[in-house]
Amino acid sequence: MNFTFRRKRISGLLTVVPANERSFVEEMKNFNFPEARSLKLKEVMGYDKRRLVEPGVCVSDLAVFGLQHLFDLSLLNRDEIDALFLVTQSPDHFMPPTSNIIQGRLGLKQDVFCLDISQGCAGFVIGLIQAFLLLEQDNIRKVVLINADVLSRKASPKDRNIYPLIGDGASITVLERDTEDSVIHANLKMDGSRAEALIIPAGGLRIPSTSETARLEEVGDNNLRAKDHLFMDGAAIFNFVQVEVPPLIESLLARAGISMDSVDYFFCHQPNRFMLEKLADKMKIPHDKMPNNVVEYFGNNSGATIPTAITFNLRERLLREKLRVCLAGFGAGLTWSAMLISLGNVDFNTIIEYK
Protein backbone atom coordinates (compact mmCIF):
# COMPACT_ATOMS: atom_id res chain seq x y z
CA MET A 1 0.00 0.00 0.00
CA ASN A 2 1.44 3.34 -1.07
CA PHE A 3 1.11 6.77 0.55
CA THR A 4 2.18 10.26 -0.45
CA PHE A 5 2.08 13.25 1.88
CA ARG A 6 2.82 16.89 1.16
CA ARG A 7 3.81 19.77 3.42
CA LYS A 8 4.39 17.66 6.53
CA ARG A 9 7.52 17.42 8.65
CA ILE A 10 9.14 15.97 11.72
CA SER A 11 10.00 18.91 13.96
CA GLY A 12 11.68 17.14 16.85
CA LEU A 13 12.90 13.77 18.14
CA LEU A 14 13.62 12.70 21.69
CA THR A 15 14.74 9.22 22.78
CA VAL A 16 14.27 8.09 26.38
CA VAL A 17 16.43 5.15 27.50
CA PRO A 18 16.49 3.63 30.99
CA ALA A 19 19.60 4.55 33.01
CA ASN A 20 19.99 0.89 33.95
CA GLU A 21 22.70 -0.50 31.64
CA ARG A 22 23.43 -4.22 31.27
CA SER A 23 26.45 -5.84 29.70
CA PHE A 24 26.30 -8.93 27.49
CA VAL A 25 29.59 -10.24 28.90
CA GLU A 26 28.21 -10.10 32.44
CA GLU A 27 24.97 -11.80 31.42
CA MET A 28 26.56 -14.61 29.38
CA LYS A 29 26.63 -16.90 32.40
CA ASN A 30 22.80 -16.91 32.44
CA PHE A 31 22.77 -18.97 29.25
CA ASN A 32 23.52 -22.68 29.07
CA PHE A 33 26.10 -21.99 26.43
CA PRO A 34 29.93 -22.13 26.15
CA GLU A 35 31.55 -18.76 26.75
CA ALA A 36 33.68 -18.90 23.58
CA ARG A 37 30.61 -19.30 21.38
CA SER A 38 28.83 -16.46 23.16
CA LEU A 39 31.81 -14.18 22.56
CA LYS A 40 31.80 -15.01 18.84
CA LEU A 41 28.11 -14.21 18.76
CA LYS A 42 28.77 -10.91 20.48
CA GLU A 43 31.23 -9.94 17.78
CA VAL A 44 29.01 -10.90 14.85
CA MET A 45 25.63 -9.71 16.15
CA GLY A 46 26.92 -6.60 17.89
CA TYR A 47 25.62 -7.54 21.34
CA ASP A 48 27.27 -5.43 24.03
CA LYS A 49 25.37 -2.95 26.19
CA ARG A 50 21.66 -2.52 26.51
CA ARG A 51 19.25 -0.49 28.54
CA LEU A 52 16.54 -2.19 30.57
CA VAL A 53 13.84 -0.78 32.83
CA GLU A 54 13.82 -1.63 36.51
CA PRO A 55 11.00 -3.95 37.67
CA GLY A 56 7.63 -2.25 37.59
CA VAL A 57 8.47 0.47 35.08
CA CYS A 58 5.88 0.76 32.32
CA VAL A 59 5.63 2.37 28.92
CA SER A 60 3.62 5.31 30.27
CA ASP A 61 6.42 6.07 32.78
CA LEU A 62 8.98 6.48 29.99
CA ALA A 63 6.57 8.53 27.87
CA VAL A 64 5.51 10.86 30.69
CA PHE A 65 9.15 11.38 31.68
CA GLY A 66 10.12 12.30 28.11
CA LEU A 67 7.18 14.61 27.46
CA GLN A 68 7.65 16.37 30.81
CA HIS A 69 11.30 16.94 29.84
CA LEU A 70 10.17 18.64 26.62
CA PHE A 71 7.61 20.77 28.52
CA ASP A 72 10.22 21.79 31.11
CA LEU A 73 12.65 22.94 28.43
CA SER A 74 9.86 24.69 26.48
CA LEU A 75 10.62 22.50 23.47
CA LEU A 76 6.97 21.52 23.34
CA ASN A 77 3.86 23.28 24.61
CA ARG A 78 1.40 20.84 26.17
CA ASP A 79 -1.61 22.86 24.98
CA GLU A 80 -0.51 22.57 21.36
CA ILE A 81 -0.78 18.78 21.27
CA ASP A 82 -3.81 17.89 19.14
CA ALA A 83 -3.14 14.16 18.99
CA LEU A 84 -1.07 11.67 20.94
CA PHE A 85 -0.39 8.32 19.27
CA LEU A 86 1.32 5.55 21.18
CA VAL A 87 2.73 2.58 19.29
CA THR A 88 3.51 -0.29 21.63
CA GLN A 89 3.37 -4.05 22.11
CA SER A 90 3.66 -3.75 25.89
CA PRO A 91 0.83 -1.48 27.11
CA ASP A 92 0.29 -0.73 30.80
CA HIS A 93 -3.10 -2.50 30.70
CA PHE A 94 -5.50 -4.22 28.29
CA MET A 95 -7.88 -1.39 29.12
CA PRO A 96 -7.85 1.65 29.09
CA PRO A 97 -5.56 2.80 26.25
CA THR A 98 -2.12 3.72 27.58
CA SER A 99 -2.21 6.90 25.47
CA ASN A 100 -5.18 8.07 27.56
CA ILE A 101 -3.22 7.31 30.73
CA ILE A 102 -0.34 9.44 29.45
CA GLN A 103 -2.74 12.26 28.60
CA GLY A 104 -4.27 12.11 32.07
CA ARG A 105 -0.95 12.00 33.93
CA LEU A 106 0.34 15.02 32.02
CA GLY A 107 -2.89 17.02 32.26
CA LEU A 108 -3.20 17.46 28.52
CA LYS A 109 -6.33 19.15 27.16
CA GLN A 110 -9.46 17.05 26.59
CA ASP A 111 -9.69 18.22 23.01
CA VAL A 112 -7.06 15.71 21.95
CA PHE A 113 -7.08 12.48 19.93
CA CYS A 114 -5.37 9.71 21.93
CA LEU A 115 -4.82 6.42 20.16
CA ASP A 116 -2.92 3.21 20.95
CA ILE A 117 -1.55 1.39 17.93
CA SER A 118 -0.59 -2.25 18.41
CA GLN A 119 2.54 -2.55 16.31
CA GLY A 120 6.14 -3.36 17.13
CA CYS A 121 9.33 -3.10 15.12
CA ALA A 122 7.60 -1.69 12.03
CA GLY A 123 5.75 0.77 14.23
CA PHE A 124 7.74 3.94 13.66
CA VAL A 125 6.76 4.23 10.00
CA ILE A 126 3.23 3.01 10.79
CA GLY A 127 2.91 5.74 13.43
CA LEU A 128 4.28 8.39 11.08
CA ILE A 129 1.76 7.39 8.40
CA GLN A 130 -1.10 7.68 10.92
CA ALA A 131 0.17 11.03 12.14
CA PHE A 132 0.58 12.48 8.66
CA LEU A 133 -2.91 11.24 7.72
CA LEU A 134 -4.36 13.07 10.70
CA LEU A 135 -2.45 16.23 9.86
CA GLU A 136 -4.53 16.43 6.67
CA GLN A 137 -7.30 17.76 8.95
CA ASP A 138 -7.35 21.56 9.12
CA ASN A 139 -7.78 21.69 12.89
CA ILE A 140 -4.92 19.27 13.66
CA ARG A 141 -1.66 21.18 13.85
CA LYS A 142 0.64 19.12 16.04
CA VAL A 143 0.79 15.35 16.59
CA VAL A 144 2.98 13.61 19.15
CA LEU A 145 4.01 10.09 18.18
CA ILE A 146 5.37 7.86 20.93
CA ASN A 147 7.03 4.55 20.15
CA ALA A 148 7.70 2.75 23.40
CA ASP A 149 8.19 -0.78 24.64
CA VAL A 150 9.41 -2.53 27.79
CA LEU A 151 9.64 -5.98 26.25
CA SER A 152 12.50 -7.04 28.54
CA ARG A 153 9.68 -7.72 30.99
CA LYS A 154 8.28 -10.29 28.55
CA ALA A 155 11.59 -11.97 27.59
CA SER A 156 13.03 -15.03 29.29
CA PRO A 157 16.47 -14.33 30.83
CA LYS A 158 17.30 -17.96 30.01
CA ASP A 159 16.55 -17.59 26.31
CA ARG A 160 19.73 -16.79 24.41
CA ASN A 161 17.72 -16.30 21.17
CA ILE A 162 15.88 -13.27 22.55
CA TYR A 163 17.22 -11.90 25.81
CA PRO A 164 20.67 -10.60 24.76
CA LEU A 165 19.20 -8.37 22.07
CA ILE A 166 16.22 -6.85 23.89
CA GLY A 167 16.33 -3.27 25.08
CA ASP A 168 13.65 -1.00 26.53
CA GLY A 169 13.00 2.59 25.57
CA ALA A 170 10.71 5.23 24.16
CA SER A 171 10.93 7.75 21.40
CA ILE A 172 8.89 10.90 21.13
CA THR A 173 8.49 12.40 17.68
CA VAL A 174 6.68 15.67 17.03
CA LEU A 175 5.01 16.12 13.66
CA GLU A 176 3.46 19.17 12.12
CA ARG A 177 2.78 20.91 8.83
CA ASP A 178 5.68 22.15 6.73
CA THR A 179 5.80 25.58 5.16
CA GLU A 180 8.01 24.15 2.41
CA ASP A 181 6.49 22.08 -0.38
CA SER A 182 7.99 18.85 0.91
CA VAL A 183 6.91 15.44 -0.38
CA ILE A 184 7.00 12.25 1.70
CA HIS A 185 6.57 8.80 0.18
CA ALA A 186 5.72 5.69 2.19
CA ASN A 187 4.64 2.13 1.67
CA LEU A 188 3.72 -0.78 3.86
CA LYS A 189 2.81 -4.45 3.63
CA MET A 190 1.34 -6.93 6.06
CA ASP A 191 1.09 -10.71 6.22
CA GLY A 192 -0.90 -12.08 9.14
CA SER A 193 -0.46 -15.65 7.89
CA ARG A 194 3.03 -15.47 9.40
CA ALA A 195 1.91 -13.90 12.69
CA GLU A 196 3.25 -16.74 14.84
CA ALA A 197 6.85 -16.06 13.85
CA LEU A 198 6.96 -13.25 16.40
CA ILE A 199 4.51 -13.68 19.23
CA ILE A 200 3.86 -13.67 22.96
CA PRO A 201 1.67 -16.81 22.96
CA ALA A 202 0.01 -16.48 26.38
CA GLY A 203 -1.32 -13.60 28.42
CA GLY A 204 -4.11 -12.49 26.11
CA LEU A 205 -7.58 -13.97 26.03
CA ARG A 206 -6.72 -16.76 23.55
CA ILE A 207 -4.35 -18.34 26.08
CA PRO A 208 -4.77 -16.62 29.46
CA SER A 209 -1.78 -16.55 31.81
CA THR A 210 -1.74 -19.37 34.35
CA SER A 211 0.91 -21.00 36.48
CA GLU A 212 1.29 -23.44 33.58
CA THR A 213 2.01 -20.73 30.99
CA ALA A 214 4.52 -19.14 33.38
CA ARG A 215 6.54 -22.36 33.68
CA LEU A 216 9.94 -22.37 31.92
CA GLU A 217 10.31 -25.12 29.32
CA GLU A 218 13.31 -26.45 27.42
CA VAL A 219 12.79 -25.16 23.88
CA GLY A 220 15.95 -26.35 22.14
CA ASP A 221 19.52 -25.08 21.88
CA ASN A 222 19.65 -25.15 25.73
CA ASN A 223 17.16 -22.28 25.95
CA LEU A 224 14.40 -22.02 28.54
CA ARG A 225 11.23 -20.07 27.82
CA ALA A 226 7.61 -19.92 29.08
CA LYS A 227 4.49 -19.35 27.00
CA ASP A 228 4.15 -15.97 28.75
CA HIS A 229 7.45 -14.95 27.14
CA LEU A 230 8.24 -13.35 23.82
CA PHE A 231 9.02 -15.89 21.11
CA MET A 232 10.81 -15.18 17.86
CA ASP A 233 11.48 -17.71 15.12
CA GLY A 234 14.86 -16.17 14.38
CA ALA A 235 15.54 -18.04 11.14
CA ALA A 236 12.08 -17.24 9.73
CA ILE A 237 12.36 -13.56 10.68
CA PHE A 238 15.85 -13.30 9.21
CA ASN A 239 14.64 -14.78 5.94
CA PHE A 240 11.52 -12.58 5.94
CA VAL A 241 13.64 -9.44 6.25
CA GLN A 242 16.13 -10.46 3.56
CA VAL A 243 13.37 -11.42 1.09
CA GLU A 244 10.77 -8.70 1.70
CA VAL A 245 12.58 -5.51 2.71
CA PRO A 246 14.87 -4.87 -0.30
CA PRO A 247 12.00 -4.87 -2.86
CA LEU A 248 9.93 -2.67 -0.53
CA ILE A 249 12.69 -0.05 -0.39
CA GLU A 250 13.46 -0.36 -4.10
CA SER A 251 9.81 0.14 -5.08
CA LEU A 252 9.55 3.13 -2.73
CA LEU A 253 12.57 4.83 -4.27
CA ALA A 254 11.42 3.98 -7.82
CA ARG A 255 8.03 5.56 -7.15
CA ALA A 256 9.73 8.67 -5.77
CA GLY A 257 12.16 8.77 -8.72
CA ILE A 258 15.12 8.74 -6.35
CA SER A 259 18.27 6.62 -6.74
CA MET A 260 19.89 4.70 -3.88
CA ASP A 261 22.98 6.92 -4.17
CA SER A 262 21.05 10.11 -3.55
CA VAL A 263 19.73 8.91 -0.19
CA ASP A 264 21.95 10.19 2.63
CA TYR A 265 21.04 7.52 5.19
CA PHE A 266 19.01 4.37 5.48
CA PHE A 267 17.68 4.04 9.02
CA CYS A 268 16.31 0.54 9.43
CA HIS A 269 14.92 -1.24 12.43
CA GLN A 270 17.86 -2.50 14.52
CA PRO A 271 17.56 -6.21 15.41
CA ASN A 272 21.28 -6.97 15.15
CA ARG A 273 24.38 -5.91 13.24
CA PHE A 274 24.62 -9.06 11.09
CA MET A 275 21.10 -8.76 9.70
CA LEU A 276 21.59 -5.10 8.77
CA GLU A 277 24.96 -5.71 7.12
CA LYS A 278 23.38 -8.44 5.00
CA LEU A 279 20.52 -6.11 4.12
CA ALA A 280 22.95 -3.35 3.11
CA ASP A 281 25.03 -5.77 1.02
CA LYS A 282 21.94 -7.04 -0.76
CA MET A 283 21.00 -3.49 -1.80
CA LYS A 284 24.63 -2.47 -2.42
CA ILE A 285 24.39 0.26 0.21
CA PRO A 286 27.68 1.22 1.94
CA HIS A 287 27.58 0.11 5.58
CA ASP A 288 28.23 3.65 6.82
CA LYS A 289 24.99 4.80 5.18
CA MET A 290 22.97 2.21 7.11
CA PRO A 291 23.81 2.64 10.83
CA ASN A 292 23.59 -0.61 12.82
CA ASN A 293 24.84 0.36 16.29
CA VAL A 294 21.63 0.62 18.32
CA VAL A 295 21.70 -3.02 19.42
CA GLU A 296 25.31 -2.52 20.54
CA TYR A 297 24.68 0.52 22.74
CA PHE A 298 21.01 0.27 23.73
CA GLY A 299 19.56 -3.09 22.65
CA ASN A 300 16.65 -3.60 20.30
CA ASN A 301 13.93 -1.36 21.74
CA SER A 302 11.27 -2.44 19.24
CA GLY A 303 9.48 0.40 17.42
CA ALA A 304 11.82 2.96 18.97
CA THR A 305 14.99 1.66 17.26
CA ILE A 306 14.73 3.87 14.17
CA PRO A 307 14.33 7.16 16.08
CA THR A 308 16.98 5.92 18.54
CA ALA A 309 19.34 5.40 15.60
CA ILE A 310 18.54 8.88 14.28
CA THR A 311 19.05 10.65 17.62
CA PHE A 312 22.19 8.65 18.44
CA ASN A 313 23.93 8.91 15.06
CA LEU A 314 22.90 12.36 13.83
CA ARG A 315 22.41 14.33 17.09
CA GLU A 316 23.21 18.05 16.60
CA ARG A 317 23.69 17.59 12.85
CA LEU A 318 19.93 17.45 12.35
CA LEU A 319 19.50 20.79 14.12
CA ARG A 320 21.24 22.67 11.31
CA GLU A 321 21.11 20.40 8.28
CA LYS A 322 18.55 18.62 6.13
CA LEU A 323 19.13 15.07 4.95
CA ARG A 324 17.22 12.75 2.68
CA VAL A 325 16.64 9.57 4.64
CA CYS A 326 14.91 6.29 3.99
CA LEU A 327 13.30 4.62 7.01
CA ALA A 328 12.42 0.93 7.06
CA GLY A 329 10.76 -1.07 9.81
CA PHE A 330 9.89 -4.76 9.93
CA GLY A 331 8.57 -7.10 12.56
CA ALA A 332 5.50 -8.40 14.37
CA GLY A 333 2.41 -8.93 12.28
CA LEU A 334 4.28 -9.63 10.11
CA THR A 335 4.51 -6.02 9.00
CA TRP A 336 7.07 -4.19 6.91
CA SER A 337 7.07 -0.53 6.03
CA ALA A 338 9.30 2.14 4.54
CA MET A 339 9.32 5.91 4.15
CA LEU A 340 11.37 8.42 2.18
CA ILE A 341 11.48 11.74 3.98
CA SER A 342 13.57 14.88 4.20
CA LEU A 343 14.70 15.14 7.79
CA GLY A 344 16.38 18.10 9.44
CA ASN A 345 16.32 21.63 10.82
CA VAL A 346 14.49 20.11 13.78
CA ASP A 347 13.93 21.85 17.10
CA PHE A 348 15.48 19.01 19.11
CA ASN A 349 17.15 15.66 18.44
CA THR A 350 18.57 14.12 21.57
CA ILE A 351 18.68 11.20 24.02
CA ILE A 352 17.93 11.37 27.73
CA GLU A 353 18.05 8.81 30.52
CA TYR A 354 15.04 7.74 32.54
CA LYS A 355 15.92 7.51 36.24
Partner: protein, 76 residues
Amino acid sequence: MKSPVEILKEIRPEFDFTASSDFIEDGMLDSFDMVTFVSTLDKTYGISIQGVDIVPENFKNLQTIEALLRKSGVQL
Protein backbone atom coordinates in the same frame (compact mmCIF):
# COMPACT_ATOMS: atom_id res chain seq x y z
CA MET B 1 43.36 -19.78 3.80
CA LYS B 2 41.21 -21.89 6.10
CA SER B 3 38.88 -24.42 4.53
CA PRO B 4 35.17 -24.56 5.45
CA VAL B 5 35.70 -27.70 7.50
CA GLU B 6 38.52 -26.05 9.47
CA ILE B 7 36.26 -23.09 10.22
CA LEU B 8 33.46 -25.41 11.32
CA LYS B 9 35.90 -27.23 13.60
CA GLU B 10 36.80 -23.92 15.27
CA ILE B 11 33.12 -23.11 15.88
CA ARG B 12 32.14 -26.56 17.16
CA PRO B 13 35.37 -28.43 18.05
CA GLU B 14 33.42 -31.27 19.65
CA PHE B 15 32.09 -32.57 16.30
CA ASP B 16 33.61 -34.40 13.34
CA PHE B 17 32.13 -32.61 10.34
CA THR B 18 33.62 -35.10 7.86
CA ALA B 19 31.54 -37.89 9.37
CA SER B 20 28.08 -36.36 8.96
CA SER B 21 25.86 -35.84 5.92
CA ASP B 22 23.41 -33.55 7.72
CA PHE B 23 24.87 -31.13 10.26
CA ILE B 24 21.46 -29.63 11.06
CA GLU B 25 19.65 -32.93 11.58
CA ASP B 26 22.54 -34.23 13.66
CA GLY B 27 22.40 -31.15 15.92
CA MET B 28 25.91 -29.98 15.04
CA LEU B 29 24.97 -26.46 13.87
CA ASP B 30 22.24 -24.23 15.26
CA SER B 31 21.05 -20.97 13.73
CA PHE B 32 23.57 -18.87 15.66
CA ASP B 33 26.41 -21.18 14.62
CA MET B 34 25.32 -20.58 11.02
CA VAL B 35 25.54 -16.83 11.56
CA THR B 36 29.05 -17.16 13.04
CA PHE B 37 30.04 -19.50 10.19
CA VAL B 38 28.74 -17.15 7.47
CA SER B 39 30.49 -14.18 9.03
CA THR B 40 33.79 -16.11 9.09
CA LEU B 41 33.34 -17.37 5.51
CA ASP B 42 32.66 -13.79 4.36
CA LYS B 43 35.87 -12.55 5.95
CA THR B 44 37.99 -15.53 4.91
CA TYR B 45 36.98 -15.51 1.23
CA GLY B 46 36.28 -11.77 0.84
CA ILE B 47 32.65 -12.31 -0.12
CA SER B 48 29.19 -11.49 1.22
CA ILE B 49 26.95 -14.54 1.19
CA GLN B 50 23.47 -13.27 0.38
CA GLY B 51 21.04 -13.12 3.28
CA VAL B 52 18.40 -15.08 1.34
CA ASP B 53 20.91 -17.95 1.04
CA ILE B 54 21.36 -18.26 4.82
CA VAL B 55 18.92 -21.13 5.15
CA PRO B 56 19.51 -24.55 6.76
CA GLU B 57 19.44 -26.38 3.38
CA ASN B 58 22.67 -24.66 2.37
CA PHE B 59 24.46 -25.77 5.54
CA LYS B 60 23.50 -29.45 5.60
CA ASN B 61 26.93 -30.83 4.73
CA LEU B 62 30.26 -29.97 3.15
CA GLN B 63 28.89 -30.44 -0.39
CA THR B 64 26.04 -27.94 0.06
CA ILE B 65 28.43 -25.49 1.73
CA GLU B 66 30.84 -25.74 -1.19
CA ALA B 67 27.95 -25.19 -3.62
CA LEU B 68 26.96 -22.08 -1.66
CA LEU B 69 30.52 -20.76 -1.77
CA ARG B 70 30.67 -21.30 -5.54
CA LYS B 71 27.34 -19.48 -5.92
CA SER B 72 28.80 -16.63 -3.85
CA GLY B 73 31.74 -16.28 -6.24
CA VAL B 74 34.41 -18.44 -4.60
CA GLN B 75 36.52 -20.62 -6.91
CA LEU B 76 37.18 -23.90 -5.13
